[in-house]
Symmetry: C2
Subunit: 223 residues, 2 copies
């Protein structure tokens, strides 16, 4: 499903260069359940953004389901992202002036579903993450962990075949965190490809495969 070959991502700035990814080779098959770990600044989010078609490498190639991603135009990329990929961002990226239901329903709006279906599915997704009593709250009327769960609900509402979650439990207590991990376990059992970035061993242990990054390189890859 996912094939990265010698992927590099360099950021050029006034004072020099940052090599966020320095030649990554990675293959992930359909249905795998993978945890990505590593120190702060080691390139995990950069890797996730490339896999999720939100960013392009400055070197190497990325193929998703056999398609060379950087050869696609913006519309084709947007289509893939909307239909196939659910992304939980490390900093949530919620619409600040929209309530929880509207935020969660956004992928369904892009998918062209009608209003009644969007409302029902969005409410259901919010209930699944324990936010059934916060439907009309906007992000600044929610706690940090509630915002995190809102971002998770939005990523899952369109039932994507690939779920990319960047630190999905960073703001959650252990009980709520466990509920979210069980949700990812269920998705995996149902055949969804799940890739989680986490710095918590308890979360990483649920995955079948653990990959560790350091300074933009993969240093361990164990199943």
């Amino acid at each position: 499903l996912i094939s990265l070959r010698q992927v590099e991502r360099v950021y050029r700035m006034g004072g020099g260069e940052v090599q966020a990814l320095a030649g990554v080779d990675l293959e992930i098959a359909r249905g795998e359940y993978v945890a990505i770990m590593g120190p702060s600044g080691s390139g995990k989010s950069t890797l996730m953004n490339i896999v999720g078609c939100l960013d392009t490498p400055t070197g190497g190639t990325y193929e998703l389901a056999g398609t060379t991603v950087h050869e696609l135009d913006d519309d084709e990329l947007a289509g893939i992202r909307n239909r196939e990929i659910g992304f939980v961002f490390q900093s949530f990226n919620l619409l600040p002036r929209a309530d929880a239901v509207t935020n969660v329903a956004l992928p369904l709006l892009y998918a062209g579903l009608d209003r009644g279906v969007r409302q029902t599915r969005a409410e259901e997704a919010l209930r699944r993450v324990g936010l059934g009593d916060r439907l009309d709250h906007r992000p600044n009327e929610l706690s940090g962990g509630q915002c995190q769960r809102l971002a998770i609900a939005r990523a899952l509402v369109n039932e994507p075949s690939l779920v990319l979650a960047d630190e999905p439990t960073g703001n959650l207590d252990s009980v709520t965190s466990e509920e979210i991990i069980i949700l990812f376990d269920e998705l995996s059992r149902a055949g969804t490809t799940v890739i989680l970035v986490t710095h918590e061993d308890e979360v990483a242990d649920h995955a079948r495969r653990q990959i560790r990054l350091r300074d933009g390189n993969i240093v361990t890859d164990r199943s």
Copy 2:
């Protein structure tokens, strides 16, 4: 130093009310090292915002160093916040268009220090959290954990007597997290009053006292 009596914080919304704090009694002496824990949505950030003079209770009273906080005007409150309190926000609240040094130096600008002193102290604060090689990066050119450390550096740069840190290690791997906790330990040994919200036991164990919230009430308080 900190005295909360029957503190309530109710949010009124179209559909009803949310009782974020439901009658909190809490005394914290100067120099204490306290960890606050509890489920997502239990009122931890709300409590921190009141203690940090960023929000006022809808019931009860809050005294800081003997002063009844809600009787102060906006300028006096701003003065206390700038001189005495260092706040690490759960969602960082960084200036997106300013680089790391400018972000960290902001409290020093309000304190009226001149440019050279601000620059030196800000760089030093960034080095202490491991960001010495990221001085000219803006928040969107930093990783999630680097943004978190930037927020911590800013909270500490003015050497406040009270440090309030809301989930300061949520985005950090265990090694970087350990470095940050050691920093808080050092502040505590130097006499700073430190209050951390955390959902991680390893972090809470460094504090001398652990307080647990549930549904807006304190349910345990142990030293």
